[in-house]
Amino acid sequence: MTWNRKKAPTSADTPRARVLNRLLGERRLGWIGLAVALLAPFVDASNYSLSVLTSAALFVMLAVGLNIVVGYCGLLDLGYAAFFAIGAYVSGVLATTYGWSLLATVPVVLAAAVLAGVIIGGPTLRLRSDYLAIVTLGFGEIIRITANNLDITGGPSGIYGIPGLELFGLDLSSPVAFYYAVVVIVALAVVGAARLGRSRMGRAWRFIREDEDAAEAMGIHTYKLKLAAYIAGAVWGGLAGILFGAQLSAISPQSFTFLWSALILLAVVLGGMGSTPGVVLGAVFVSVLPELLRDAADYRFFVFGVLLIVVMIFRPQGLWPSQASERTPARRPEVQKEDAWQA
């Protein structure tokens, strides 16, 4: 039994994984993923598979967004569905009640998401992670229940008749067109998140995750950066919400339950926190598996649960863990020696 609070050497340290990661650098991997997504409909373009694929893509976007908060910054968020809901409802209401085009709702959604991020993050980000967890959970429930009780949000049956996506005059509401639109948008979202993760801000997030005090000592205003992570997460969630409404044409509070937040978190952790390819994989896994299990009928969720356990036992770090390694140009050792000894 090894008892490392600090993780035991991650499976990503194993030579196999090393090689794998060298072979498929994140970038090339991204292209492969995109190619697969784009080609899928040529294999099966039935409405069903398209809707499953579209949902999966949206789920990827959510997972990548949550990954910013949980994976990069290490803030446990059990209410992520809230931001998703805010996006869906804001755009839904504007589109149905006020007849805006979905595109036009984007800026409003962004504003709302940021606002929500600040409102919930502002007072609570000082809390220790477990307490943050419950606060976010509460926030998620508050949003859902409020949507359920208000009239503009259509109460329990929610909003229906949300128009399909239409960008610059061309109508993307047909399942295939919509799927491709979503894939493109999600791809951008994934790349965006990954790039943030590899930037100055992304590093700061990781520093905070690893050791908040040390981060502060390095001049990192941990509070502001946590808030930034939160807001980024909210933005991703909100945008995904718009697409969600467009896909289902109807949204209702049942779509934003705690279970959803849990499933998104599931995708992130299952894939490998902080690892973009991992999280994408995890999201696809979590969203597609239950559909694949449809024919298991009564056994469906039983099997799903068991599979989750099994997978984690065999990949404790996640399907595709993030590992700290950079290619470093071989350095001339003697230089170090000199540096070390010269006075």
Binding site: V43, S46, G155, L248, E291, R300
Partner: protein, 365 residues
């Protein structure tokens, strides 16, 4: 099936079966309902196939889990469309059924919705949507009529925050406000899936009503009735169709449930001569029929009738045929659709629990 490049056309040969699709909860908190509806439909299908199907074409049933969750239901709807169903005869939770409407509409699949009955379902005025369960409005009418008849004066409404439940409660409230009869003294909501409703019960008792109307499902209904009685409320209690199930009596305890009224469409138990139907059902599935077994059974029969009339499964023809139906005998009475594709005669009756069973109290006519 079939990729973008392959032509995904399924020919409509006249000898191949007519496929009916049903979305019903098999998982999640309403999972209990699924089997009742599935069996009800299966029973009808077997009967029809037994005497030769429809112009030689057999009926076939495909069931998908909707889990009362919009996302799951949407996927299910798409699956059914992909499986090439001709008519949808499912739909239990309004909330989960709503997003499936446009999918079936786009795919040109007529929907005969057996259970789900929130008024929103028809408010969009989609041509392919038909409800054969009385709508919230109709149910509210029945409820108010009866309350007034009982000369209740102070009514407490309790719903469970689901679209179906609030729909009935709100419309009941509207009617009561308009009318000169009883007044609404409280409109309370409970959270489904919990055990302790003492706080809500307390609110009800505080408001000192002489009539309580519960518009949710039987799981919570049973607990609520029991806890109301324990809290010392002795006045009349009425429940909506979602609560009409033997389980309600057992959960509440017979002594508490005795005398509880219900607004309900016709069920085998209330129809003279339906005993043999129940017998068949028992014999076939060796289980008791439950909520919406009959509506699902009828949904199949309505579908069959429409196809027979239309002479094909072509969308337009079937819809036309459905609109044309007049007087087809259903459990809920003779069928004729209104403009909005709802039951012209609401067909709501008042049941009451008599020695531990729901039985006809007042036919309201």
């Amino acid at each position: 099936g079939g990729g973008l490049l392959s032509s995904g056309e399924e020919g409509g040969g006249s000898d191949e079966p007519i496929v009916l699709g049903m979305i019903t909860p098999l998982s999640g908190s309403s999972a209990a309902i699924g089997p009742y509806m599935q069996n009800g439909a299966q029973l009808a299908i077997d009967e029809i196939n037994a005497d030769g199907g429809i112009d030689g074409r057999e009926l076939e049933l495909v069931v998908e889990d909707g889990a009362c969750d919009p996302r799951t239901a949407t996927a299910a709807a798409n699956k059914l469309v992909t499986d090439g169903i001709d008519i949808s005869i499912g739909g239990y939770c309004s909330g989960a059924t709503l997003p499936t409407l446009p999918i079936f509409e786009k795919a040109g699949v007529p929907m005969i919705i057996p259970a789900a009955n929130s008024t929103e379902l028809v408010e969009q005025g989609l041509s392919n949507v038909f409800l054969i369960n009385g709508t919230g409005t109709q149910q509210a009418d029945a409820a108010v009529e009866y309350m007034t008849g009982q000369n209740a004066t102070r009514v407490a409404l309790v719903d469970d925050n689901t679209s179906y439940s609030t729909d009935i409660a709100e419309r009941t409230a509207e009617l009561l406000e308009e009318g000169s009869g009883p007044e609404v003294v409280l409109h309370e909501s409970v959270t489904a899936g919990e055990s302790d409703y003492s706080a809500n019960v307390n609110a009800v008792v505080q408001s000192d009503p002489d009539f309580v109307y519960w518009t949710g499902y039987y799981q919570e209904g049973g607990l609520l009735v029991r806890q109301l009685r324990q809290a010392g409320y002795t006045g009349p209690i009425m429940v909506a169709d979602g609560s009409v199930d033997q389980q309600l009596v057992e959960i509440a305890g017979p002594e508490n449930a005795e005398g509880v009224f219900a607004t309900m469409t016709q069920t085998p138990d209330t129809i003279p001569g339906a005993e043999d139907w129940i017998a068949d059902y028992r014999e076939k599935f060796d289980a008791e029929p439950g909520p919406y077994s009959t509506q699902s059974y009828d949904a199949v029969r309505v579908a069959a009738e429409a196809v027979r009339e239309a002479g094909s499964t072509d969308t337009e023809d079937v819809i036309a045929a459905l609109e044309g139906i007049d007087g087809l005998e259903l459990f809920s009475g003779p069928l004729k659709f209104t403009e909005e594709h709802t039951l012209s005669s609401g067909g709501f009756l008042i049941l009451s629990v008599q020695d531990g069973k729901f039985a006809l109290e007042d036919a309201l006519d």
